[in-house]
Amino acid sequence: MAPQVTATIVDDDPQDYESQHVHAVYDEIAPHFSSTRYKPWPIIAKFIADLPTGWVGLDSGTGNGKYLPLPLERPTDIWTIGLDRSRNLLKIAQTAGGVQREVVWGDVLDKPWRDGAFDYAISIATIHHLATHERRMAAVQRLVRAVNPAHGRILIYVWAIEQDDLSKRSIPQSEATRARGEDVFVPWVMSKELQSKSGAKNAASPEHSHTTSQAIDPPQVFNRYYHMFARGELTDLVRGAAKGLSIHLGSPEDGVMEGIEIVQDGWERSNYYVELRRWRK
């Protein structure tokens, strides 16, 4: 049986915590992780398919770069540039879909771009790896500032407390977690075969220190930190981010010069998502 998701508490400096329980883990599991992540979710595929020709975008937390080749029907009409904290994942993203991609080693909380440089930005399954509410809100603000203030579009996906039936994960729930979300460890089990393939055995990690006999060793388990979002929490982050940037949240209206509009939000396959659009008069 697959190991269960367990509750955790962020009891360290959030940056150090992410470094240990997110960045280091992804660098370790990169090749294995990559072989299991390949299918774009329908709303993401549609968001990208609807972008105008000539647009350039940012995939913040690109991972193995699985969204960089989209849209599959007209692949060279737009360019998506992938940013990630894990260099080992970026090495895979560099050739996502068998074509040379543009990737940047960086942090989703930084802004190594000129203001409004991109026409669109996506952040899929990334912001839930940030260890505090403030850091998650800052990540949303970076996305808002990365896109063009007159027409920039944004799509964000994060894991939800509410998991669907198909999902193997079961999330411990209480009244409080339904309201505020919950900090958890999600185990990543790496088979012996893949460990030797990826060389992960030899890396520094507390779980593996003695690998003398392959037969009796349990599979290596890596715990990744996630903040599982409560219903409404993602929209609250967007509201807070807009307020922090002094940008009006809502549709274009009289007397307001610029704003950011929620085009759609909802739940899909164990995730919450929100699509945003910037506008200016």
Partner: protein
Amino acid sequence: MVRLITHNLLACHAKGCTTNNFPLRLQDAAVELRDAEFNAEFVRGFLPRLEWKALVGAARELGDKSLPEEMPEMVDEEFLQKLHHVLLEIHIDEGAMVCPNCGHVYPIANGIPNMLLAEHEIA
């Protein structure tokens, strides 16, 4: 990879460095040319949002003088092909990008630019 399409978007983000932080200067660049599929409509669509002078300057730093100083008024197929080449076919595999304002060095290794900052440098 770092191609000039990406270079045209990157800016220095070190603490306190908010003016004259673009474009980053290319240093010790090891360049390789690789064919990319030409899509005239993509290049035409992206053109209005390019920082033209930054692109021309970076291309010249890499020894490519095919683009005019000023963005031409007549955008024909031949021009779009040249622009395509400069944006998408010149790969910087090794080298560095240096901030013209604060001098911060962003290394490029195996085609991946390192835009991470040390903790004390984060804005």
